[in-house]
């Protein structure tokens, strides 16, 4: 690396970790970090969690202290969006006309929430997504008055968390999804069914298996018309329909894009000297044999670090392999997922009770475990993390790990009994189709 300029485009989790790794790897040249939002990096996971809860004071939760950011000795270009990349001239072009030269570049532009333009009424006031601090503040204002009704369209992770937070703030909530249960697309119908129970118990008007035909209202949203012909009267709508990688600015640059920036195992893009990390990067995660984008916070942090390091130490690159980790707070239940799961994997109970919704279960196919999910069992995941670091593992190893836990914890012995007793019972070995 010549001693000139590294530019990081994106100033959230992936970008900040990349910038820190660039310095950590010994780069002492000019470092520029470009961010689309005008505030310093904040804790984005909190937007759909504690920032929507009672008791939050309205201040952004910073990702780093002012002192930590200053220690990076970076130039911060915030509130600016990259609009074009010229890999021949090695320049990044911003929306205000600024042109920044780079010798090394990290693409950490993340993703944006999907807004379906085909949906009538989607442009009405009161129809929003939840992706940024401004979005969260605006939703809080809506939920702040008594007697409000919120409709959440899309019962994925964000949609389910928003429903959970809105109920906690006292709003009435309808949660609509064309799939048979919440989180069905990610975790399948068995785990999704448990989350459906959580929502119903908390008084959410859950409408699964139903699409949305139109959002109704003249200026401001007044209702939502469903595909079954029914109408929900509502004060606000949140769209939780997934995200798309922010790659438009790379068009024509020569950086290969195919559902995100296509990277090698070292987070390097198709153009030398350009790396990518976070939601925007699609890379081969070797232990899992997967080649996809991962939209989790922990991936943004870890991959940002890997990309920053490998850019500076290009002669000695380290492949980025990770055990994807995700957590979601649904009411008082902490749902945690480790690994790479498919919604049509079988669910095998390893420990605890699904009826009590306090358990650890494996996503299994042909005797191999690729992911583990826990409800209210944060202590039980560590041994599975160790196993998954090497990639998928045999189901028998999962039971051995639970047994080993039982020998060190009295509490877990009961869980072991639950785990071994139910293994052979087909009702708990639920499979989708």
């Amino acid at each position: 690396m010549t001693k000139d300029a590294i530019v990081v485009v994106g100033a959230s989790a992936a970008g900040i970790h990349a910038a820190e790794a660039v310095r950590g790897a010994g780069f002492d040249g000019s470092l520029v970090v470009v961010g689309a939002e005008s505030v310093a990096a904040y804790q984005r996971p909190a937007l759909s969690k504690q920032m929507l809860m009672k008791g939050w004071d309205g201040a952004a939760l910073p990702l780093r202290s002012a002192g930590q950011l200053a220690a990076l000795q970076a130039e911060w270009v915030l509130g600016r969006t990259a609009t074009r990349l010229d890999t021949g001239a090695r320049t990044v072009h911003l929306d205000d006309g600024t042109v920044i030269r780079y010798s090394g570049l990290i693409i950490a532009t993340g993703s944006r929430a999907v807004v379906p333009s085909w949906l009538p009424g989607v442009e009405l006031e009161g129809v929003d997504v939840l992706r940024t601090l401004d979005d969260a503040l605006s939703l809080r204002r809506v939920l702040g008055s008594a007697g409000r009704h919120l409709t959440v369209i899309g019962a994925g992770f964000i949609g389910s968390e928003v429903a959970s937070a809105a109920r906690q703030m006292g709003a009435s909530v309808a949660l609509v999804d064309p799939r048979p249960s919440p989180l069905a697309g990610a975790l399948g119908p068995v785990i999704g069914g448990l989350v459906a129970e959580l929502h119903k118990e908390q008084g959410v008007d859950l409408r699964c298996g139903v699409g949305v035909q139109a959002i109704l209202g003249s200026n401001r949203v007044e209702g939502v018309r469903l595909s079954d012909g029914r109408t929900i009267e509502t004060d606000a709508v949140i769209l939780g329909l997934g995200v798309r990688p922010n790659v438009d600015w790379l068009h024509g640059s020569g950086v290969r894009v195919d559902d995100g920036v296509v990277c090698d195992p070292f987070c390097a893009s198709s153009v030398p000297g350009i790396y990518a990390a976070g939601d925007v990067a699609r890379w081969p995660n070797i232990p899992f044999g997967s080649h996809k984008r991962v939209e989790h916070w922990s991936n943004a942090a870890q991959q940002g670090e890997a990309a920053g390091r490998n850019l500076v130490r290009a002669a000695d690159p380290v492949p980025y392999a990770s055990v994807p980790y995700f957590w979601s707070d649904q009411y008082t239940t902490k749902v945690q997922l480790l690994g790479v799961c498919s919604p049509d994997d079988s669910i095998v109970l390893l420990s605890g009770s699904m009826e009590e919704r306090r358990f650890v279960a494996a996503f299994e196919r042909h005797g191999t475990v690729r992911a583990v999910v826990a409800f209210k069992q944060p202590r039980m995941l560590a041994p599975f993390y160790e196993l998954l670091r090497q990639g998928p593992f045999a189901l028998t190893e999962a039971f051995a790990a639970v047994k080993k836990l039982a020998t060190v914890s009295g509490d877990a012995i009961q869980q072991l009994h639950a785990g071994t007793a139910v293994t052979g019972e087909p009702r708990l070995r639920a499979s989708h189709q």
Partner: protein, 69 residues
């Protein structure tokens, strides 16, 4: 140089990723929804794990500092 582990419980939001990576160092107080330290020194064999836990913490609640630092 001895390294000490600092846990800022005002920042911690109980995401529990630290327990998974370094279970001999971190636990969770489920009632409070906050991580707790099982030890506050960081011997060399745990350095990688605690560093990873600090990096993976979405709230930046974990810090490693040298003695007196």
């Amino acid at each position: 140089v001895t390294l000490n582990i600092l846990l800022d419980t005002r920042r911690c939001s109980g995401f529990a990723s630290c327990l998974i990576v370094a279970p001999s160092v971190f636990d969770l107080d489920e009632a409070e929804g906050k991580a707790v330290l099982l030890r506050d020194d960081c011997p060399p064999e745990l350095l990688n794990r605690v560093t990873q836990a600090a990096r993976d913490c979405p709230t930046g609640a974990i810090e490693l500092v040298g003695d007196g630092g």
